[in-house]
């Protein structure tokens, strides 16, 4: 066996130039795959965390049907049973009840559409970063207080300022119009212009009072310690909340278009890599084919001596594997180093993009990640494809008859 390996190794280096070029091609493909996937997945993760902490949270508890039709009537009672169940789930970092409602905000002769977000400031801090984005003034305090914190754009559009009172006009739980005077105690700039243009945060008790929703909430937003626990926690909670007629949704189900746009980009990247790998595989096919046919006479002799056919095939397979392993190792190493560097120094994407991305709350940077799945998945895929490409040359060796080999020109 060892002699066979030694032979394989020497055969690989018989044609130094050719082998080096082939290894370089594999290294190139692997490195590119690792870097590209690293950037994609690393940036997604950061963006997801950023976005969910400014909107839905990692998970949400809702009444079934609320997601399709977010009306006040699809709200539910935020009772102690629910809270107990949520508290007992150890992977949950924090949870916070919320009420959402469309409203009109007016000051004298100016009014603007807004979205009321009734929250409990203390719990909300564990789930979202709203309170950290207060630009001026302060965040809301808990209790039945008719004070609001509005988005910066909304403030500008309405032409009001800290300390001013505004009228909030909305349709209550019973279907009747309600209004209330609220004092502006703070201004937020979340970085997402959608929020900054329409968000009006007020204490959940005040929202419940205004809308006539005693003890009821629209959703409960949940934050986890680790994004990777998402599916597990969802399944677990779902079981326990089913009897309460409540549904648990992931951020992807609450914001399907966001999730799908990530998926779309993801698939696009994979598609490109697939093309790259296929092209490199053809190169390997051709190279191995040449490396094999030019040795047919030698193979013929060796088969004539009585070498079992499969042994010969295995020899050539060893050669292919050696080239692949070297290329994979080099590619992963180089790719990993680049990823590590990007992780330490995220790539800034430019002012133009910064402005545009703020619409969605994305950050204008590209990160990377060193998750082992990237290295493993890419390596396995490329290995597999390269082996499939090598099937033809290996088959030719398998079918070679000693005399045909010896007489080959």
């Amino acid at each position: 066996m060892r002699l066979l390996l030694r032979m394989a190794w020497r055969n690989v280096w018989r044609n130094k130039r050719r082998s080096i070029i082939t290894i370089a091609a594999v290294t190139f493909a692997v490195m590119l795959a690792v870097v590209m996937r690293g950037m994609q997945l690393g940036t997604y993760e950061k963006n997801i965390e950023q976005v969910v902490r400014l909107s839905s949270g990692y998970l949400q508890v809702q009444r079934p049907g609320y997601q399709e039709n977010p009306t006040l009537r699809r709200s539910f009672v935020y009772d102690s049973t629910l809270q107990r169940i949520l508290k007992s789930e150890t992977r949950i970092n924090g949870f916070s009840p919320r009420i959402y409602a469309d409203a009109l905000l007016s000051k004298r002769d100016n009014s603007f559409g807004a979205m009321l977000v009734g929250i409990d400031p203390e719990n909300e801090n564990l789930v979202s970063d709203f309170s950290k984005r207060v630009r001026r003034g302060r965040f809301i305090k808990p209790g039945l207080r008719y004070e609001v914190v509005v988005g910066e754009k909304l403030l500008q559009n309405l032409g009001v300022d800290l300390g001013d009172s505004v009228v909030v006009l909305t349709q209550g739980f019973d279907g009747f119009l309600r209004d209330a005077f609220c004092t502006i105690v703070g201004v937020v700039k979340t970085g997402s212009s959608e929020l900054d243009r329409a968000a009006v945060f007020l204490p959940i008790k005040a929202a419940q009072d205004l809308l006539g929703m005693d003890g009821r909430v629209s959703v409960v937003a949940i934050s986890l310690y680790r994004l990777s626990d998402l599916e597990k926690v969802k399944r677990h909670l779902q079981e326990r909340l089913k009897p309460l007629n409540l549904k648990v949704l992931t951020w992807g189900e609450v914001m399907p278009s966001f999730k799908q746009s990530i998926e779309f980009d993801n698939v696009g990247g994979l598609l490109f890599l697939a093309i790259l790998v296929v092209v490199v595989a053809f190169g390997i096919l051709n190279t191995m084919l040449m490396a094999v046919t030019e040795r047919f006479r030698e193979f013929g002799v060796v088969l004539a001596l009585g070498m079992p056919q499969m042994r010969l095939v295995v020899l050539v397979l060893y050669e292919i594997l050696m080239i692949l392993v070297i290329g994979l190792a080099a590619g992963n190493l180089l790719g990993g180093s680049v990823n590590w560097y990007i992780l330490k120094h995220p790539i800034y994407m430019g002012k133009q993009l910064e402005e545009l991305y703020s619409q969605f709350g994305f950050l204008p940077y590209m990160w990377s990640t060193l998750r082992w799945q990237i290295f493993l998945n890419n390596s396995l895929t490329i290995l597999l494809v390269a082996l499939v490409a090598s099937a033809y040359p290996l088959w030719k060796v398998y079918r070679l008859e000693p005399l045909k080999g010896i007489r080959y020109t």
Binding site: S111, G113, F282
Partner: protein, 404 residues
């Protein structure tokens, strides 16, 4: 003569040349089609937004785009209209009032974009009139409203139901009116359908106390490539209290995405090109080394080095050109039916709908794509052959024998 030799040399090892060809064609076609798909998609999004809402050119009171307040009005619309009519490049134009309000049914209420239009003029501009799924388009009667499917679902209303719209009047008070749903529409932009309602212009002007004023003039031009020129001309002729914007000014993100994507594609072409170069270098090296003796003979009978170089380079380039021709052929063959039937990406339907494009994407084979693919391949083939060609010219016979 050199061409003939190069061509025949290529086919001495049929299998090898064919494999290179196939790899080139596969890489090329895959890139071309992917590029066409993305290009088509971005273009579709842009076109959709234009035909859904934005139009080619918009004219407002200055500052309206940043701050769409009801207070920023075009108070003398006839003045603006006169300037528009002086531009024969403008195919259609229409007036609109745009404001934000709340629409309520007996079950629910929702924030809405109230788009008030001149029904017949609007028909020429946007495709709303063609997107009706229930009922009918606006006729211009008082109290008629056209709402999106998503909005109807949220308010739990259907054709014929009554709804109340509330918005801020010009004088600051809250204006409201009752409307009857005469039609329900559905577009490819689900987000739009959830929040947009259409009423006749005069109804809005009355409800909000606007008199004759309007928020916006929306224009369609004859030739979309003239948009910027027309915009500039209008801008110059209108008094400075107005702002004139093209759809590119209104949708900078989409424009950016389209340009960014084209740039990324270039990078991708280069990467695939590099991958192909590896294969070509190895192949040409083999082709050169197994003919060492022959090349030695050629040099001995007096063939100058530069001709030897040219011969090798030519072989590879011919292969590249052949690959390009076949690649474009195959690519177009696959592209044509797709460009008519489109590609169904309904697995991404919700995301695509929120981008503003339907689940069916129509690829677009831009000239840029054909050029990128068509030019890059022969260049790749040429570059790949440089090292082997140099080797062919400079070889030492002893070296050659070690490679057997």
């Amino acid at each position: 003569m050199l061409w003939k030799i190069a061509w025949r040399n290529l086919w001495r090892n049929k299998r090898r040349s064919v494999i290179i060809l196939v790899s080139v064609v596969v890489g090329m076609v895959a890139m071309m089609l992917t590029d066409a798909l993305y290009t088509g998609m971005i273009r579709q999004v842009l076109t959709n937004q234009v035909s859904l809402e934005v139009g080619h050119i918009q004219i407002h009171r200055k500052g309206f785009h940043d701050n769409p307040s009801i207070k920023l009005l075009i108070e003398r619309p006839d003045e603006v209209e006169a300037v528009i009519r002086q531009h024969p490049e403008v195919l259609h134009h229409a007036r609109r009032v745009l404001t934000y309000g709340i629409l309520s049914s007996s079950y629910n209420s929702s924030g809405v974009n109230i788009v008030s239009v001149e029904p017949e003029a609007e028909r020429q501009i946007t495709l709303i009139s063609k997107s009706i799924v229930q009922g009918r388009y606006l006729k211009g009667e008082a109290h008629e409203v056209l709402i999106g499917e998503g909005l109807a679902r949220k308010l739990e209303v259907s054709l014929g139901d009554k709804v109340v719209a509330m918005a801020s009047r010009l004088d600051g008070s809250i204006g409201s009116d009752v409307f009857r749903i005469v039609g329900i529409y559905r577009t490819f932009d689900s987000e739009h359908d959830k929040v947009t309602m259409y009423i006749p212009l005069e109804t809005a002007q009355h409800m909000l106390g606007l008199g004759d004023a309007v928020s916006e003039f929306v224009l369609m031009v004859k030739d979309v490539r003239q948009v910027d020129a027309v915009r500039d001309s209008l801008r110059n002729q209108l008094p400075p209290i107005y702002e004139t914007l093209s759809y590119r000014d209104v949708l900078p993100l989409l424009v950016y995405q389209s340009e960014a994507m084209a740039q990324w594609m270039m990078i991708y072409y280069v990467i695939i090109g590099i991958a192909l170069v590896f294969g070509i270098v190895n192949t040409m090296l083999m082709a050169v080394f197994e003919r060492m003796q022959e090349i030695g003979v050629l040099k001995a009978i007096g063939m100058p080095n530069r001709k030897v170089l040219a011969m090798i380079l030519l072989e590879s380039t011919i292969l590249g050109l052949l690959g390009t021709v076949i690649g474009i052929g195959v690519g177009m063959l696959i592209y044509w039916p797709l460009s008519h039937s489109g590609l169904n990406l309904s697995v991404f339907s919700e995301s695509l709908a929120s981008f503003g494009v339907g689940a069916v994407i129509y690829p677009v084979m831009d000239l840029r794509i054909l050029l990128s693919a068509g030019v890059s391949i022969p260049i790749v083939a040429l570059v790949g052959a440089i090292y082997p060609a140099i080797k062919a010219v400079r070889f030492e016979p002893v070296e050659a024998m070690r490679y057997i």
